[in-house]
């Protein structure tokens, strides 16, 4: 059994609105990732998957607040009250994050090399500008990105190119874990494939050790992830290997998700696309029973009464198997 790289225990984070209401976006999530593995996180919009991705950084910027739980990376607890320490020693080095919209994440007035110089000035201040450039150029060409990009402004690059640049920049310090939050949702299929190839390369060349991939596109997740967790309303409702979750889902919500997949394959045209009725619950209040009960066709009175706990069955975790 290989080393557990990331251990998240009962993590709870919430947003505070201007009206001082609390929104419990991540509500008791526990996760573990082994070294070299890819974990996929899936769920519909508003289920808390992006908030989970942010929360894993250990850096909570209002309106996001931490409430309880622990995050251990390689045996070290990263939930500490020292933001400066986090910034210097954890972010980028231990765990790194790729945002969803690369177009908005790059400052349009700076050349790409300036972003890398900024990172290096913080983490390896004794390197000269020339050294930084050489290092970056080497990393870029290792990842099949032209070093020419370093001297370009973000607006000179295409969407797919920007996304790849962001990935290369955020992994320049060889973080142990990379959290990718829908890195391909704004791209078309061909650019998507190029970006996915780049992510695969990072793993093969050991620039990163493990990957957490957040997306709502299940066919994509199936090809990259070893394990998949399905989130609903701030909770994990099911976890298993990709094959198990895609072909043999247990939880009613996972089953509904699988039925909404569209793939251009034989037989897909005759399949009936089933939409899940209703909308996700309001996370402002604490929900007593099963969170999916209002939209679940199997739900009965029992479901709404008490909290549904996670159950374990042959390495799989699930909350319900109706």
């Amino acid at each position: 059994m290989s080393r557990k790289l990331l251990k998240v225990k009962n993590l709870k984070t919430y947003y505070k609105t201007r009206m001082h209401e609390k929104i419990y976006a991540v509500d008791g999530v526990s996760l573990e990732i082994e070294e070299g593995k890819v974990l996929g996180v899936a769920g519909e919009s508003g289920c808390g998957k992006s908030t989970l991705a942010h929360s894993l950084m250990g850096l909570y910027i209002p309106p996001l607040y931490y409430s309880q739980g622990s995050i251990e990376i390689d045996g070290k607890e990263i939930i500490i009250d020292d933001k400066e320490y986090l910034r210097k020693n954890v972010l980028g080095k231990e765990i790194s994050y790729i945002p969803q919209a690369a177009m908005n994440a790059l400052n349009p007035t700076l050349k790409i090399r300036k972003f890398i110089e900024d990172i290096m000035a913080e983490h390896r201040p004794n390197l000269s500008k020339k050294d930084v450039y050489d290092l970056a150029a080497e990393r870029f060409s290792n990842l099949n990105l032209s070093p020419r990009v370093l001297d370009a402004f973000p607006n000179e690059l295409s969407g797919g190119m920007k996304q790849r640049t962001i990935i290369a920049i955020s992994t320049i310090l060889n973080p142990k874990i990379l959290v990718a939050d829908e890195p391909t949702s704004a791209l078309d299929v061909s650019s998507q494939k190029i970006v996915m190839k780049l992510i695969k390369q990072l793993l093969e060349k050991q620039y990163i050790k493990s990957l957490i991939f957040v997306t709502h596109e299940l066919p994509l997740l199936y090809h990259i992830a070893d394990d998949i967790v399905i989130m609903y309303a701030g909770e994990i409702v099911e976890r298993g290997s990709s094959d198990e979750v895609i072909f043999d889902p247990i939880h009613p919500y996972s089953k509904a998700l699988m039925a909404s997949m569209l793939v251009p394959e034989k037989g897909a045209k005759d399949q009936k696309l089933v939409a899940i009725p209703g909308s996700p619950p309001n996370l402002k209040s604490v929900i007593k029973g099963c969170r999916f009960a209002d939209r679940c066709k199997y739900a009965d009175e029992e479901c709404r009464k008490s909290k549904v706990h996670e159950k374990i069955l042959d390495n799989r975790i699930y909350r319900c198997k109706k």
Binding site: G46, K197, P219, L262, E265, K269
Partner: protein
């Protein structure tokens, strides 16, 4: 009532942007004909000219060359009146719902304004009834929404509100430009269901413009594949997806992650 075989067709449509060195041919000598009640998908990568073609079909852009025929008649949108008439029959749903509404109006006004495109005048009670009906077809609660501004709604609600507008106008042709790219896979199913319902109720021709090949395969009768402004392949959904002839189409299909086939990332 249109009795012509093809409700909308185009012949040798070309659109050029810029001149001289900066000349870009966005749509290059494209011809097509759509029948009534048919669902067509136009599939291509970003930059292949799909959206330009949609704008030309809607009369928002003028083609540099070629003609569009609506119900067999050559389209002429020079006058305001003819444009209005055309838009009461040919409508669109756009990709970004956030930029498609007038932010100063409330939902009630936004929906009632659509009724102005209808030919027969309705009384106020009839208007409210029609609006409520349209909201019901797209699973929106009118009582909850009517007093809100569009920016107070969620992305999914806005997208459904856009479709509610098309239910009010009941167009003969609907051009849907990436209608589901902003929403997730689970809500996508319900949006598609609504558009198919619109087709079933009114025999509307729907033109899907998308880069999602899976979606195109699921909904459409006919698929057109566009590359660099040209239509390189057309055929029924089964022909294109299961037996693509052109190299480009084969490559495009290879790039889509599938469930039962391996996806080469090497």
């Amino acid at each position: 009532m249109c009795t012509h075989d093809y409700i909308l067709s185009g012949k040798n449509i070309t659109r050029v942007f810029g001149q001289g060195k900066n000349k870009v041919v966005a749509v290059d000598n494209v011809s097509f004909s759509f029948t009534r009640g048919e669902i067509i998908s136009i599939v291509g990568e970003s930059g292949s000219g799909k959206t330009t073609l949609a704008k030309i079909l809607l009369g928002l852009l003028k083609q540099s060359d070629g003609d569009i025929f609506y119900c067999g008649k050559k389209l002429n949108l020079k006058e305001r009146r003819s444009r209005r008439e055309y838009w009461s029959e040919v409508q669109a749903v756009f990709q970004d719902p956030f930029s498609s509404f007038n932010m100063f109006y409330k939902v009630e006004t936004l929906l009632r304004n659509c009724l102005k495109l209808r030919k027969n005048k309705l009384s106020k009670e009839e208007q409210v009834a029609a609006v409520k009906d349209a909201c019901k077809s797209v699973n929106l609660e009118y009582e909850e929404l009517y007093d809100k501004h569009p920016f107070e709604l969620s992305g999914g609600q806005m997208q459904r509100l856009m479709i509610a507008r098309t239910f009010l106008i009941r167009p003969r042709v609907l051009i849907a430009d990436e209608p589901t790219s902003m929403i997730d896979a689970c809500s996508r199913a319900s949006i598609l269901d609504m558009l198919l319902k619109l087709r079933d109720e009114n025999n509307t021709t729907i033109i899907f413009i998308t880069h999602d090949v899976g979606l195109a395969y699921y909904v459409s009768n006919t698929i057109y594949i566009m590359e660099k402004g040209r239509i390189i392949e057309r055929g029924t959904a089964d022909e294109i997806i299961l037996n693509p002839k052109e190299n480009y189409t084969q490559q495009l299909l290879k790039d889509v992650p599938k469930i039962y086939e391996s996806w080469d990332l090497a």
